[in-house]
């Protein structure tokens, strides 16, 4: 079965510090991968998506970047965090599951980031 992992689960970082969030998927190959951010009490904002190794598309210009060094690994990074980067970061994979359409997205448990 497919599973998606994210770590860390929670993170408190000072303004100006670097960031690295990791997402890995098991049990599937060549998934589409997505990073979302959710501000408190708000909806989902798509940050990045990837259709393959080294292929990253950015939806929102900002101080964040993403990388996909392996087929089932997706990393979200920043060189210098801003206060506005606080939020709940969700990784999702998209792909065929039990005959469903490929655009169905399945979410990881999320990372709650607080920038102070």
């Amino acid at each position: 079965s497919q599973t998606i992992h994210q770590w860390p689960a929670t993170l408190v970082q000072p303004v100006g510090s670097p960031l690295s969030l990791e997402c890995t998927v098991e049990g599937t190959s060549n998934p589409n991968l997505y990073w979302y951010r959710q501000a408190a009490g708000r909806g989902l904002q798509l940050l990045f998506y990837s259709v393959g190794i080294g292929q990253i598309s950015s939806e929102v210009p900002q101080n964040l970047s993403a990388s996909r060094p392996q087929d089932r690994q997706f990393i979200l990074s920043s060189k210098k965090l801003l206060l506005s980067d606080s939020g709940f970061y969700l990784c999702a994979w998209g792909g065929y599951l039990a005959g469903g359409p490929k655009d169905t997205q399945y979410f990881g448990p999320g990372t709650r980031l607080t920038v102070l």
């Binding site: 589409n32 909806g43 998506y49 969700l90 359409p101 655009d103 169905t104 709650r112």
Partner: protein, 112 residues
């Protein structure tokens, strides 16, 4: 450009009552999704609606899709407290690869 609107954004109701959450989308979409998010948790896929007239049911939740009206509904029957959550709808769009365009979410509180 595809846009997705949900209403209401907040709903407080009593147990045992019925209610409907509406999801309108602005242009043609292949599929419509409903997700559930419990407070502080991630999103869980509830339903995928693939065609006009599609209806899916799971327990007290029923989702339907009218592609001509560009409208999906999530109907809650005889609500129970455990259904308290935020519900998101999302419509699928092809931009190179498939992406989901999300509604703002409906926060549902069901009071005993």
């Amino acid at each position: 450009e595809l846009k997705v609107e949900q209403n209401p954004l907040f709903l407080s109701m009593q147990e045992g009552k019925n209610y409907t959450i509406y999801c309108n989308y602005s242009t043609t979409s292949d599929r419509l999704y409903w997700y559930r998010q419990d407070p502080g948790k991630s999103l869980e896929s509830l339903f995928v609606l693939l065609s006009n007239g599609a209806v899916k049911q799971e327990g007290r939740l029923m989702a339907s899709l009218d592609t001509k009206a560009r409208l999906s509904t999530l109907h809650i029957t005889a609500a129970v407290h455990d259904l308290s959550a935020t519900y998101f709808c999302a419509a699928s769009v092809r931009r190179g690869n498939y992406q989901l365009i999300w509604g703002a979410g409906t926060k549902l509180i069901i009071k005993p």
